[in-house]
Amino acid sequence: MADVILKPIGNFDLTVEAEDITPDNFAGKSADEIRKILIWQAPAQFPISDFFTVEGNGGSSAEDTTIIVDGNVPRVKRIGEKMTAGKIVIKGSAGMHVGSAMTGGEIIVEGDAESWAGMEMKGGSIHIKGNAKDHIGCAYRGSWKGMSGGRITIEGNAVNQIGGGLIGGEIIINGNVENFCGIRISGGLIVVKGNAFRTVGAEMTGGTIVVGGCIERFNPGFEMTAIESDLKFNDIECPGEYKKFAGDYAIPQKGKGILYVSCDNNECL
């Protein structure tokens, strides 16, 4: 494995769009060649070396290349967009669209992630150790199909519209979510270990959502069908008793979406 270390040095007064920071693009390039790769800031392009110091050469292929971003880059967008293989470690917070539309490989964000991480991703994994904002693994504006494969793990909390339009893959959130988690999903799995504020699984027509904590405001179009305990989805385990709901009957579909809600934390449902 070859490591390329990018250390941010500033000039982020306006946000930067760095969809060219991917193992695919760094593979086969020397540190010097990587320094010259152009990334966008507003309507102009500048070499990576304007924003980062670069150490280490890329590997022979994307699989062999690891990119380590050694610092906070909340104003650098689109890192790892469309990557197919290899690994990116961001040792701080990441900007919008990290790993969006990726098809393979691994991204680790040690801090927080901004909105749109893993948008419409097809494969690979994203591990966010801090919190995440809106639209994680979601469909793009106007599209009905979000993430279709791979896995996103969020250790902290996420905010709104997580996994919107999910058709496959898995999103696991250890913390809480707020509004519209799993809106309009038709497949895949979302596990929220903490609480959800409202509208979980709104307009869902398929797929599975598990909420381990409390749902403050339950979505009205769901009907309880059973009580199940100790859920298991391959390697993901959700111990305890769950109320199983079918829905969302607010939309004219057959209610094929499944929503599991912890019995202990939702006595009033």
Binding site: S115, K133, D134, H135, V159, N160, Q161, N179
Partner: protein, 129 residues
Amino acid sequence: MEALLNTGSTIDEGRLAKGGNKYSEDYKLECAVCWMCAEDYASLGCPDKVAVTSRDGRYTIAVYSKVTESVRSGHVFIPRSIWANVVVEPDTFSTGSPRYKGSPVMVEPTNEEVLSAEEIVLKLYMGGE
């Protein structure tokens, strides 16, 4: 008191804004006003003026109070204007539109002076220039 802030047009707010009178006393008297129900007004000690503070505590604005039957307890209304927008939540939930309706705020009695629209721009936004 914790409350949800609703903002919106009133006919005189519209008349004064469209007529280019945002720096008039009438505009201040129409818009720098926090409407609340009698119960909430009494629980605050019937103050003439209240300070409305954004939930994160970063911005606060003094406005006149007004009793109305049009809102329920725990809800307050300020006509759409610079006073209301000082405390409206700037997060847009990734939609571009801030929470003009239903922003969480704190409402407390105050003796602070109610600023004019121009004073807000000069003192709060332009750093006293």
